[in-house]
């Protein structure tokens, strides 16, 4: 049964010259793409997945050196000139890029840009092309498509622009659609919509989709086949169910087990892969994964493993591939800790109490004399408490006010409205010295470890800096710094190195060590793992769990990633447009959500398991987050709510006019007129 191929990549290698040596971005990759299939290409940053897709469409930067073959209908695309290749681009191979905000020309209308794509490859008039552009927008479920063709990109939200990008990609009914992280820059509920449309696009045109992503959950729901890339090579490839169920390459095994899942009921330690991906300039001599591999033996350094057939329709690049399954079942690879080493020391002492907190920003108008014309409520009357030794997570999509909440707490001054009580003291009554003393016990870890360390300060000094502020003696600082480095799993001998010598995961550990320097009682974590690669994320999450057990500190955790929250938090508060819509114990809220938004949010999170992901019912919310400048009346969620739509008109009117108060429903606090019950 030999199927025809749409595209065949044969031993493709791409290198870039750089000052520190040759960058091996893609190494000897061969890949077949069949008509109509969805192929997921998964890898961490630097794994070469984007370079692979760019070489397929012939848009690599000029400095790239490419060898191998990419065959489309028997024609080697790599030998074509820019002029010849541009005849295939858009017509045979189309691409959807990651960042929809910058991917469209800001000074031309949406309709013109789609029409242009049609005019390049088809003999039609401009008016017809514009009409077709409207039809394409309609197919991508953009409301009022024939008016919207006249809009400019800045008049569209991110999710809408990504729909335009997909419309652009299918305009000429291509054979292949390359989608490079198409949903990464989007919010969860919007991501679900866009992925649905990508599926629809492939069904409409019969095109094969190559879905390039770092998110195992996204591929699990969409792909038929998966190829996993590591350090420029495909290390495992095969039908998605088989690979997820029974991964054969140690990297794949580690990767799949390292991902927290939102549908997990029991808390476990994640499997974490030691170390971080190798630099593409200095690759190990044999298997690139060898230095991190738990199944490493000396033969792994002897040669670079080829991608070889495995169990029929799969292939694996591992020199010990036949032994791995045995090692796994014997529990020799990535043993999972069944029980936790320690029990968290917790108490009912309330460290942080926030009640009715509001924060608004002025809305200004006028260019010479600016005047206030209104207020935007970023945070609107929210309340929560954090107990000693517990972790409270605030979740929500971008713009819901979660970061503003953190900053208000960190400010330690009287809020605009409401009350913040830290360690039993009301912040509005603090003296200057008391405020400084409280800062010691309230530390923060930011999202981006690359931006939150001074590049010119050795990490040891960065860690000692907070102690310097509180005039700890120099010798004490030194011993404490060494302790801290050890505590977060770094070598104390590296204290005099600069941040640039560390990987993202290591930097985040340094930032955590710095935050812990003064023995804080509360650690505020603002998206601490979202900037990290999948395989190092688990390590940092495990570290956070371990620190909590050892030190008994409390976390105020902010994240948009529900799987991570499910994994680390004890309590969760779900925010939507500045207010908390539901809060309670994590197990309770996640297992039986009462607020329709919570339910939709949970349903939108992709689960990295193709069986579960492909069979479950999903709730896909309509529309996008409304702007907080102009929030909907009544219940803020009513215009997107699927519950209210199914109810009687009087109920609907109630949702649209009356703002629901928070009340206790089956043990959770919910602000909804018609909460979902068990």
């Amino acid at each position: 049964m030999k199927k025809t191929l749409v595209l065949q990549i044969k031993s493709l290698s791409v290198t870039f010259p750089s000052e520190s040596g040759t960058v091996n971005a893609v190494r000897n990759v061969s890949l077949d793409i069949f008509p109509g299939e969805v192929l997921g290409v998964v890898g961490e940053s630097g794994s070469g997945k984007s370079v692979l897709s760019l070489s397929t469409i012939g848009l690599l930067p000029n400095s790239a050196r490419v060898s191998g073959e990419i065959l489309l209908d028997g024609k080697n695309l790599l030998q074509l000139s820019d002029q010849e290749m541009s005849k295939h681009r858009g017509r045979d191979i189309a691409m959807v890029f990651q960042d929809p905000l910058s991917a469209l020309n800001p000074v031309q209308t949406i309709g013109h840009q789609i029409a242009e794509a049609l005019l390049i490859h088809q003999e039609i008039s401009y008016d017809d092309a514009l009409k077709r552009a409207g039809e394409l927008l309609d197919e991508m479920r953009i409301p009022r498509p024939f008016e919207r063709v006249k809009s400019y990109p800045h008049e569209f939200s991110g999710g809408m622009r990504q729909r335009v990008m997909i419309a652009l990609a299918i305009a000429n009914a291509p054979k292949i659609i390359l989608a490079d992280e198409p949903s990464t820059a989007l919010d969860v509920t919007v991501q679900a919509q866009v992925l649905e449309l990508l599926k629809r696009a492939s069904q409409l045109t019969g095109a094969a989709v190559v879905l390039v992503t770092h998110d195992m959950g996204v591929v699990a729901g969409l792909a038929d086949r998966i190829a996993i890339m590591y350090a420029g090579k495909i290390v495992e490839e095969g039908p998605i169910e088989k690979v997820f169920e029974n991964p054969a390459m140690p990297y794949t095994i580690g990767l799949i087990r390292s991902i927290p899942r939102v549908d997990e009921s029991e808390k476990r330690r994640l499997v974490s892969i030691a170390g971080s991906p190798p630099s593409p300039v200095a690759l190990p001599p044999g298997c690139a994964f060898a230095p991190r591999c738990p199944a490493y033996t000396e033969i792994c350094d002897s040669k670079v493993p080829d991608l070889e057939a495995f169990e029929g329709d799969r292939s694996v690049a591992c020199l010990r591939k036949d032994e791995i399954a045995g090692l796994v079942s014997a529990g020799r690879l990535y043993p999972t800790e069944v029980t936790k080493g320690h029990v968290k020391s917790t108490s009912d002492v309330k460290l942080l109490e926030v009640s009715n907190l509001s924060k608004s920003f002025p809305l200004l108008k006028g260019n010479v004399f600016r005047r206030r014309v209104g207020s935007v409520y970023a945070v609107d009357k929210i309340s929560f408490t954090l107990e000693q030794g517990k972790c409270l997570a605030i979740v929500g999509e971008s713009g819901c006010g979660k970061t503003t909440t953190l900053l208000e707490v960190m400010n330690l001054v009287a809020p605009e409205n409401g009350r913040i009580v830290v360690f039993g003291k009301n912040v509005s009554e603090l003296s200057k010295s008391e405020r400084l003393a409280i800062r010691k016990d309230l530390q923060i870890v930011f999202q981006d470890p690359f931006a939150s360390l001074d590049p010119r300060l050795p990490i040891g000094e960065a860690i000692m800096e907070p102690m310097e502020v509180f005039s700890v003696s120099k010798s004490e600082q030194l011993t404490r710094m060494q302790e801290l480095l050890e505590l977060v799993g770094l070598n104390p001998a590296h204290a005099n190195r600069f941040p640039s010598e560390f990987s993202g995961g290591q930097r985040q550990r340094i930032v955590i060590a710095r935050a812990l320097a003064l023995n804080p009682k509360i650690l505020i974590l603002d998206e601490p793992v979202s900037a990290l690669d999948v395989s190092v994320r688990a390590g940092v999450l495990n570290l956070l769990a371990e620190l909590q057990e050892k030190l008994g500190i409390s976390y105020l955790f902010v994240s948009h990633d529900l799987a991570v929250v499910q994994h680390v938090a004890d309590y969760v508060a779900v925010m939507y447009l500045g207010s908390i819509v539901e809060s309670g114990a994590v197990a309770q809220v996640f297992n039986s959500p009462h607020h329709p938004y919570t339910k939709a949010l949970l349903s939108a999170v992709p689960i990295p398991d193709p069986k579960v992901e492909k069979s479950r019912e999903r709730i896909i919310l309509e529309g996008e987050l409304p702007s907080p400048i102009n929030p909907p009346s009544g219940c803020r969620f009513h215009n997107r709510c699927f519950v209210t739509k199914a109810r009687s008109e009087t109920d609907q009117a109630k949702c649209a006019s009356e703002r629901p108060e928070l009340r206790i429903v089956e043990g959770a606090e919910v602000s909804c007129h018609f909460p979902l019950l068990k």
Binding site: H88, M95, F97, S102, P106, V107, Q108, H154, L168
Partner: protein
């Protein structure tokens, strides 16, 4: 429309503020009386006073009163008298055309070639073209204008000698007592050098900015999208890259042209073109308050008009700033 009217009212206010400040500064810093002192035979005090009063520059009158008189004239379109009792309006009319002739061409050429060279430099980054024009630009930018002008003169004289006839004229607008086609060609020959000296500076300056802005666009995602649609590199560059890259330059062009009109003093002086810049220097030297004020007024109007133009231009090119 309301927007434009509001903008216009804004501009009017700014012009009034700028000119008032300009007049008061000139009236207090310049002392026209000095022109008549120390002469031999000495000019009688009464005569000085009557001359100064006649041209509204007598420092014995309160400055606000003089300002009032001046404004009264300006509103009626009369810019007053120069220190030599001639009409400022006449002087202005003569000089403005001299400056425009020189500057319009110089500015346009500088902008067009600057943009062109900037774009090509960006596309051929670090290649021979980029490096050559890069270094040349730095040399030109770091050389004072008067030095460039004088070097050009030397160069022209050298060429003229080699050729055996005068191709380039180095001083003045045209040779007197000729007419018709001959005058036209002769004027062009006079124009080449001063225009070149302005154009060179313009090219050097604009090309650096344009190169930067083009490089940003070259690396932008939307240009990549354009190519993914099937446009070749060149097509993508012209259809999508150029307009976005010129956008930030529009404001820049407008303002620098506005400022240049009265700012090409060195070039005008060296090549013997009696334009606005040259007038300004002369007016300051001769304590000619009314002429200085007229130039300030003119410059203020021009700069604000340029700003207005820049706004309109940007709005035309960039839908993101249009007012709905």
């Amino acid at each position: 429309m309301g927007f434009i009217a509001k903008r216009f009212a804004n501009f009017l206010l700014l012009v009034i503020i700028a000119t008032t400040a300009g007049y008061l500064l000139a009236a207090s810093a310049l002392n026209p009386r000095e022109n008549f002192l120390g002469r031999n035979p000495p000019v009688p005090e009464n005569t000085i006073n009557s001359i100064l009063t006649q041209v509204n520059m007598n420092d014995q009158d309160p400055v606000l009163q003089r300002y009032g008189t001046w404004v009264g004239g300006v509103v009626k379109g009369d810019l007053g008298k120069t220190i030599f009792s001639e009409s400022v309006n006449e002087e202005f009319k003569n000089r403005i055309w001299v400056s425009f002739r020189l500057l319009i061409l110089g500015s346009i050429l500088g902008a067009v070639f600057g943009v062109l060279i900037g774009v090509i430099s960006a596309v051929r980054q670090y290649k021979f073209f980029d490096r050559t024009f890069g270094y040349s630009s730095y040399i030109i930018l770091s050389t004072p204008v008067f030095l460039i002008a004088i070097l050009l003169k030397f160069f022209a004289v050298f060429i003229n000698e080699k050729l055996g006839f005068t191709l380039f004229y180095t001083v003045g607008l045209n040779t007197p007592e000729i007419s018709g086609f001959e005058l036209f060609v002769n004027s062009l020959q006079h124009m080449i050098l001063p225009t070149l000296s302005l154009t060179l500076g313009g090219i050097a300056f604009y090309s650096r900015w344009q190169r930067n802005s083009m490089l940003d666009v070259l690396g932008s995602d939307h240009l990549r999208t354009a190519r993914a649609k099937g446009l070749t590199k060149r097509q993508a560059l012209f259809k999508h890259g150029l307009r976005v890259a010129v956008l930030p330059m529009a404001t820049f062009f407008a303002y620098s042209f506005g400022l240049l009109i009265a700012g090409a003093a060195f070039t005008e002086s060296i090549f013997g073109w009696y334009g606005m810049g040259e007038w300004f220097i002369r007016a300051v030297n001769t304590n000619d308050i009314n002429s200085v004020s007229a130039i300030v007024l003119f410059t203020a109007i021009l700069v604000l008009f340029a700003g207005f133009l820049a706004d309109v231009l940007t709005a035309a090119l960039d839908p993101r700033v249009r007012i709905r």
